[in-house]
Symmetry: C2
Subunit: 580 residues, 2 copies
């Protein structure tokens, strides 16, 4: 039977608890949000003793289900003040699950500023001094911990940004090559981990009990349906493995919705130079050596949208260059040099920053006059300040809204304090509805309407149409369910178009848990998760007034379409106008 | 007939409008809050084109009424996100009123980063280039503008902090000696002025129409009653003129409610060295020369709580050393050297910072390890960074909450982003109720329950009793009325104890405006002002969850009484549970 591991950082006790029946069919995001809503006072200081940090594998993590190795991390966000779930691939989710753990909950706070290493294996859990890791970047931390605890262990850790409790600090998970680039990046949960005094968690599932579906035969059948669906869909079977998510650079640029130079244009003249196609070409042909595409972020992924990007000489540089990071650190800063972007990405991975907010932060600093748009070397120098802990580095490490305030910039592309991802809502209205209303702050992954609005997946929707509450609501609800299963959100591309795939998804969850949910139940499950999150946010002081895009996007037309964000407030307020 | 002057910074037009009947009996805070609520979108960016900055003399400013020269400044606050009224003495209020102006409203935003000087005199209003003043501190600005426009003109201006739009920037008003130390300091309205591109406003009332009461004879009678009351009360007639507001240092220290070293104790071992008694002794006896007590902050004040504090050699150092500033820059930072405190105060006046938030900021920086508690020279060096515009200076200039976030400090004594003044709410519960619920963020002046809780003025209330909603509500309502009249809030000490004085106050307003309000109407007037402000805040996204003190004050007992803040949330929510 699964357990919950509670780690109290005041007493340094590690306790294994039985899982109450009420949490049995919750996993991933449903579990992190449920536990945070139950146990964390909504008005507590996110970096204080009363916040908790919950790590939860999805319901199917650790099984053979394809692309099901996502780890959810939850807590109250120091960046947004809302409840937060950030999820990541890498090695951790499956190993935590295979140790028979449904969640690891870190609570309390040490009395001093020491850092600790949490070790979890078949024999239990313990806290070891981590003094020797303090101040080190995640590349070095991952290397040292494989050396100490054995190749292949999962490492969940924070860089100097998290140690300094900077509110754009993310949580790194290592991948199969022990690179630190799989991040539960958004919302500053790395700062919460820092505030708990945990530098890293090492998880070794050797000898663990593993994960067994309730109905093995049905499970095998359903995951096969889903696998077939994923392999045969053009997005998950071809585009993503070949070009990675950065295939979107050219697509969004063409659509006029690629935010450029701090959201001042939707089209970037240098887009083609940083596209997925170029990344593929350089990684697999021009710069042979250690470049790779069709690289899985975690074992058992069949989509393989990740890559390993090499330096000009073929040596390893960073894994991976995905769309959001390339956009944030590239076009949004006016930078069209892919190697400079790779270096910026590597610094984020090492210091421990979310790439989206880091790129949006640099762009705001550029607008504030600290450096010029397009100045790649200047951006690299600026981002390195974070790891040094200088006052400037602390400003940058606290993210976009903070940096804007420091330098008097009023064009600030954030919602609830979190920077917008790589789709300008003035050119794609539905994603703007998601940004505005998501329980997480501006977040594309919480309701990815880009699928129908731009990619023609799951139907077609006019990106400029303004009635998008229902579309966003449906995506947000289904997403909340998927985020609870351990399945990667990218399975949505296939299952939106293929009923067999959709069936394979939710019926595999049924077979796993010994339940019998219908397709309608999937949406209801997701809505319950969102309601839970929304109630937390309301108690923390959030209202409709926070479900709004920044003022400048209503006033300033975006080239080339020269449109503003004109979805009405009433339409935005319809997103959550549902009963359960 | 009075006019409203509207200055549009986009077009650089200055327009004089008639006053609509609906605004006729509104002045000071009632007028700034009313106009901001009517004209500013609650969710706008405070530093964007849609915010407005309203300067309004009180209803009686410019008359012979005693201590009636307070100027209200209003807008949406970039520090708190709420509506804001900050008020100041100095020369401006009376001169604006005597020019026949009920308010000056600055709106829009220049297209570039140039700064302007607004000149207002009997011939009208005009905007002059202020390029030569940019970057200059307020001491120099005041000197230059008297030289250019004549001795005695009123100067309302911002230092480099406001130019940089730092959210702890205040707005300076000069006094009779042309010192810049009369600040509409709280809430960052200096940043709004900076965002409007106005460096200074020069007001010359020579040849203006003056201010005439509707019923001159009744007016003369009523203000005489009030004057007598002020001169005969021990607080306004003796304590304040002799020792200034800093008379409270010893009193609050004795009460165990003088926040010390970032609100970690209520008693400071060095309090006696920085008390009002010491200031008096040094200013009037030990260091003769340019020291003064019983100094009025504006002409016609009979309370004269201000002072001029000299350097050890007798030369002018700063005016004035008042309680909040001495506390914030002294005991709250563990600093017991009065000359270091005076220097810190002078830097605030020059660079253009609110002293309360500046002191709370330094204390938080001390807690964050940047320097040690008690390190006066270090604090002076740190505060000087603000004027230089370094990254560290920009952190400090953005105030307490911002600095805490930069350096990972979680003991942050703010409400709605604004730092608490000089009374620890764990030792004086009523003032905590005011801090929590004020429409302005933590603000003692919006409901000064210290009068009955500590001073025994207006009755006696046990500071540790937790049923304080009604007390705070009554103080908040009456205060909102007084803040609208131009009368200094300190008249409250006398009129709370003396019904004749109270009568003189509101009947002088009646005589001025030709109205016939009763004592009950006074409270209703104040409640209407608060309701207006509260509605703005609600539309901006504020809820009950924001009407709370910081978490640490509920958890961490305050020596020497070792009490926490234990007023219930239900009690706090009773403050606004009134109908009109």
């Amino acid at each position: 039977m699964s357990k919950i591991l509670r780690v109290n950082m005041a007493s340094r006790n590690c306790l294994f608890e039985d899982v109450p029946e009420s949490l049995r069919v919750l996993g991933g995001r449903a579990l992190t949000s449920g536990m945070v809503a139950d146990e964390v006072p909504p008005t507590c200081h996110p970096l204080g003793a009363n916040n908790k940090l919950v790590f939860a594998p999805g319901l199917l993590s650790g099984t053979e289900a394809p692309s099901s190795g996502r780890l959810s991390v939850g807590g109250k966000s120091p960046l947004t003040g809302t409840i937060k779930e950030a999820n990541a691939g890498g090695l951790a989710s499956q190993k935590i699950a295979r140790l028979g753990l449904k969640a690891i909950v870190v609570e309390g706070q040490p009395k001093d500023d020491r850092f600790w290493l949490l070790r979890v294996n078949k024999d239990g859990a313990s806290l070891l001094p981590a003094d020797d890791l303090v101040g080190k970047g995640m590349y070095q931390v991952d290397r040292l911990l494989w050396k100490q605890f054995g190749r292949g262990v999962a490492v969940v850790g924070i860089g100097p940004a998290g140690e300094m409790r900077l509110t754009n600090a993310g949580i790194s998970v290592n991948d199969r090559e022990n690179g630190p680039g799989r991040y539960a990046g958004r919302g500053g949960l790395g700062a919460v981990m820092g505030a708990k005094g945990i530098k890293a968690i090492v998880i070794d599932d050797l000898g663990g009990p593993g994960v067994q579906p309730a109905d093995k035969r049905a499970f095998r059948e359903e995951i096969k349906k889903l696998s077939n669906s994923l392999l045969s869909h053009p997005v998950t079977g071809q585009a993503l493995p070949n070009y990675g998510t950065a295939v979107l650079i050219n697509i969004m640029n063409e659509a006029g919705g690629l935010p450029t130079r701090n959201f001042s244009s939707g089209r970037f003249e240098g887009a083609a130079k940083v596209s997925g196609e170029v990344i593929n070409e350089l990684a697999t042909k021009v710069r042979k050596g250690r470049g790779k595409v069709a690289h899985p972020c975690h074992p058992g992924c069949v989509i393989k949208c990740s890559n390993v990007f090499p330096k000009p000489n073929g040596a390893y540089h960073v894994a991976c260059l995905e769309y959001e990071s390339v956009w944030a650190l590239g076009p949004n800063c006016g930078i069209d040099n892919i190697d400079q972007i790779a270096e910026l990405n590597r610094i984020c991975n090492d210091v421990g920053l979310d790439t989206i907010d880091a790129g949006a932060t640099i762009a705001v600093a550029m607008e504030g006059g600290l450096l010029s748009f397009g100045d790649g070397p200047g951006a690299i120098k600026l981002l390195k300040e974070v790891g040094k802990g200088t006052p400037l580095g602390r400003i940058i490490g606290n993210g976009t809204a903070f940096t804007a305030q420091a330098f008097g910039v009023t064009r600030v592309p954030v919602v609830k304090g979190q920077a917008m991802p790589a789709y300008d809502p003035r050119a794609v209205k539905g994603i703007g509805v998601t940004y505005a209303t998501s329980t997480m702050g501006a977040d594309h992954t919480s309701g990815y309407t880009i699928a129908p609005e731009i990619l023609g997946v799951g139907g077609k929707a006019d990106p400029f149409a303004v009635s998008k509450a229902e579309l966003s609501r449906n995506f947000q609800a289904t997403t909340a369910y998927i985020d609870s299963t351990g399945y990667c959100l990218f399975i949505a591309f296939a299952i939106l178009d293929d009923p067999k795939g959709f069936e394979g998804m939710y019926r595999s969850v049924n077979a796993m848990c010994g339940i019998d949910m219908t397709a309608d139940d999937v949406v209801a499950y997701g809505k319950r998760v969102i309601k839970t999150e929304r109630s937390f946010n309301e108690a923390a002081g959030f209202t409709k007034a926070h479900d709004r895009l920044p003022e400048f996007m209503r006033l300033e037309p975006l080239p080339p379409h020269n449109t503003v964000f004109d979805v009405t407030d009433e339409e935005l307020d319809q997103v959550y106008a549902f009963e359960l």
